[in-house]
Symmetry: C2
Subunit: 155 residues, 2 copies
DNA sequence: TATCATGACGTTATTTTATAACATACCAAA
DNA sequence: TTTGGTATGTTATAAAATAACGTCATGATA
């Protein structure tokens, strides 16, 4: 994933996963929802709702903000995308089959967003929380900086 | 801090710290900026920019959005407040003297926001990042759930 | 103390992000 | 084939943030 010379694969894989996952959940991946997911997966960068809206509008003039936000809500519920709070944007989830919290690495140079999926980190958060008595329902980590590629180029 | 029977103390302490810190930084804590900080510290909850605007407007009709956002930007730069990305809101920082990243515990029941300041967590994040080659400049963690008090009441 | 550069704030307008509320269409099971 | 839920269309508005430019205060320096 980290080096995707053939991004079409990522896209196709993401859509396949989505189909399968929705079927197993009894959720309907309608053409519109599928199209939004496709547009999000057009890159590894986070995409803004109104950018999606603009692209969809060139295909179908009836698309209005609620249309996009409803599709995004569906995809979020299914765990197929993550919301990037620090950017007001959305990015495809790389492993929707394993329910998890967003741990995002956001490159400020190339825009790429990756996921940091390490159990050790989850454990560390749980350990840090334990003495506080806080009962978490949701924990999001967003890290900005330079991805490995960009760090190399920059140095 | 976690049990503040006399919240005035938190407020006064926060303002004192702010004065000192700004002086040492050669930054100007103007009446307006001070007032915004005061309003934010009126509770331990995150406050929205437009709520600040409304409260300020009752005191001074000339206050417009840029006024508030500029004050907020200043307070953010000085490390006196944190932005809560997941809420589009702002909360007073409890330890502005030690520069640090936002690690926020947000109670979904009472609204209270606390900070989770444990070096172990920072270490864990650094360890998780190391193998990725990602060079972080900023890392924000926002955890939603029930604070200890509310968890007790709810059970 | 005059002046002048900078930073703080005022003002107007607009952009960006998101949702409310209600109407219509579609689809699947009884 | 009715019917009830879900998906989408539509209109309007709310909520959050910034751009661009003007004015005023402040304090450093000549």
């Amino acid at each position: 994933m980290s080096h995707c010379t053939h991004h079409d694969h990522c896209l196709a894989h993401a859509l396949d996963q989505a189909e399968t996952l929705c079927q197993s959940h009894g959720a309907r991946l309608t053409p519109l929802r599928r199209r939004v997911l496709e547009l999000i997966w057009a890159s590894h960068e986070a995409v803004k709702a109104y950018d999606l809206l603009n692209r969809l509008s060139t295909e179908d003039h009836t698309v209005k903000p609620p249309t996009v936000y409803r599709a995004l809500d569906f995809l979020l519920e299914q765990g197929l995308i993550h919301r990037v709070d620090s950017l007001n944007a959305f990015v495809g989830c790389t492993h929707p089959n394993e329910p998890h919290e967003a741990r995002l690495l956001i490159c400020t140079r190339c825009g790429r967003v990756d996921e940091l999926a390490t159990p050790e980190l989850d454990d560390a958060i749980a350990r840090a929380l334990a003495p506080t008595g806080f009962q978490p329902t949701r924990a999001r980590l967003e890290i900005h900086g330079l991805c490995a590629d960009c760090a190399k180029k920059a140095s």
